[in-house]
Symmetry: D2
Subunit: 241 residues, 4 copies
């Protein structure tokens, strides 16, 4: 069965992998339920059944370490104008979330090759990729990307501690017009990547940071939220031409 997403009346989500779902609001049987249906638990509680989007599946996945936030993930996609048919090389895989988002964009004609050195992460990623139904478009490779890139890529994403070690491999692997991007929490990592990309012959090297603010809209008025995420990472982009 393909996963189904159930949402209760409070907005809480449940990813159902089997026809019977046990929740604190009762047991729900969704065998014959279609996208958009309302289903009632044995305790009389209502749920909307929907076809999960990739964002729903990723939100429910088991994770390994921190994941790339949407603002950063989005900038990677928009900056490179990622689209159908692109070949992406990605490292490290982690729980596979970035690879999954990108594969959902480049499919059906593109592919994501994702490099991971930890076997447990690679296994977790494969499980998550299968859950997302993207196993035909993502190839998980248990290999250290610092030893070389086997594919020709349009976009290379490096979420790893030392992306500068991959600068030359990235240059060699990129198609002309292609982009590499390093995701780095620390400014020293961003700087090293920026310089290494230039040295490797890459062009248009730029380091960018996005800050996200959520605006509260209440009856009293409008204002940015007091609590905020102050920082996730710097993105260092470069291009081959």
């Amino acid at each position: 069965m393909k996963p189904k997403l159930l949402i209760d009346e409070s907005g809480k989500r449940y990813l159902a992998l089997k026809s019977e779902l046990h929740t604190h609001l009762g047991v729900v049987n969704i065998e014959e339920k279609e996208h958009g249906d309302i289903v009632t638990s044995h305790l009389g509680k209502k749920f909307r059944v929907i076809r999960p989007r990739i964002v729903d599946i990723c939100d429910k996945m088991e994770r390994a370490g921190s994941i790339v936030m949407k603002k950063d993930l989005g900038l990677i996609v928009a900056y490179t104008s990622l689209g159908d048919g692109d070949v992406v090389v990605d490292a490290g895989t982690g729980s596979g979330v970035l690879a999954i988002y990108l594969a959902n964009i480049v499919k059906p004609n593109g592919r994501v090759y994702t490099y991971e050195i930890r076997e447990d992460h690679a296994e977790l990623a494969k499980k998550n990729i299968k859950l997302a139904g993207l196993e035909d478009y993502i190839i998980v490779k248990l290999k250290d990307i610092r030893e070389g890139i086997d594919e020709r890529a349009d976009v290379i994403t490096l979420d790893m501690p030392d992306p500068w070690e991959v600068a030359t491999h990235a240059f060699d692997a990129l198609n002309y017009g292609g982009f590499v991007v390093a995701y780095s929490p620390y400014i020293e990592q961003a700087r090293k990547s920026n310089i290494a990309f230039k040295k490797a012959g890459l062009k248009d090297v730029r380091t960018i940071e996005l800050l996200e603010r959520e605006i509260e809209v209440s009856q009293v008025g409008t204002r940015p939220r007091t609590r905020a995420t102050g920082h996730t990472a710097y993105l260092t982009f470069a291009r081959k031409y």
Copy 2:
């Protein structure tokens, strides 16, 4: 001929639509040139020939009004986990840049229906869409979206002065699990959209702003650039479920 991108040694780009390109560095003949080739002008200047990406074509397009910046465009894509097969409804079209970026992601199985009330903008958008080679995936409609949405959509993007007027139509047109997003330069527009989305029965209504900072990496040291874009727009997201 499909457009080719030429890049001179200073990094300047030229979009060539014909086999002969006239530049201030001389005339270049690219008839037989392939992706990655070097071509020399009659003045002896060298150019790299590459297959343009969507970002290259959009950067060279004729524009109508301001366009959605990459950080915002990216957040729309990532927030909704847009991907192959999604149906997008977009208004207003403007020069078509947003529709083009999104179509490049949802193709080949998805479509973008883009609504525009100005005939001149619709014509410009069609020209730009053709340049991007996406005419099979984008349908430009000369229609006021405030009068109704004809399609069922997974994602609705509203870059128009009064997105709140479309809140109920958006609710009706969205598939369950789908997202609507309003792009608004003014906080009052964001507030009105936020409230209208809630009233229309949409859920998870959130208004978000992204700030972009570019980090300068020079021999002296590392620092955010002095000049910055202080604001583009607020994005107000909502979901149907």
Copy 3:
């Protein structure tokens, strides 16, 4: 006895108002202790004795509601070039923290007249002002500033829900060259103040927001902190000339 500040070896501060201080690290007698001395508790724990600065006293004060953060307080001082001899009118007093900071700057030749409508807040402020030793320079007035300003002022600070109600009084009370500033958490308040200041004949009306980021410096590297305060308030400045 003037208050003394004791700091233990972990950096924790204690404001001592009497010669004997009881802490969880033991009892300390500071009767004969001077600025800079080390004192040992009966449990053998060491404390540094220092003359508290205004920031230390304010950090230890009893508070009423939220207080103006240093970044905002600082901008008020720097924007107006507040200094010795200036007369400040302030409303509402709250716990008196803003009045105390400003009085410490304008003394000995200037004065702060602070308006408060709640008797409990006025009493708390008086207690705090006495603790700070600034009772000769701050006059707490139990009066609604919306009914008029009795003094001629160089700077007027409005930390109240409806500063726009004071725009005309502020114009009348300000010396030429003087500034008024409204502190407003909500953008609607800032907008209303901005417009009211213009209508009242004030000039150079500007609304400003400051965002604060703390940078973490660790052995691993340097990065903005993940947790941040996303917003405090908008400051709307105007000048009379």
Copy 4:
């Protein structure tokens, strides 16, 4: 004659040092004019005469290099709760703007000792300090602060390329409870200062950056300005106790 500030009807300011002022709106005689008067030029144009505040004088000063912006200057004042009677040590002097702002706050009982290694800057600063009428409170020293600090200080401000070289001197010169702050455009400078302050035995070491956004209030609506200053400097604070 003490400087007078004239403001024409468009808001343009003129600092008059003599009784006759020549402007593009005509010649103005202000010999007998008092604070708040209106004066008319020989071409019939009107000007308001006001007693300049420190901010007016600093805005009209001759400058050497970039100056500390108000947001940063304000944070220094508020963070340290600078006030009457404090002794400040400042380096380097530059055009003297920071020293002038601070002296206006610590006077009449405090002093600012400002160190400068360039004779031309020291001379310019002296001229500016005289213009501001603060020559009794600021002592300009032609000396390299890296060679030692001669005074005992409550606050030390370091706007120089290598503030870390002064960490130990700062520790020795500070009164208990006093603060040192380094102003650094580059993150590497901030990091080095942060680490050096800790090594020198200083406490509560924190590096802070402020971002400023101006909010536009127009008839159409409210929004942050498109153009912004993306960065000025990092402030690294530390305290002795």
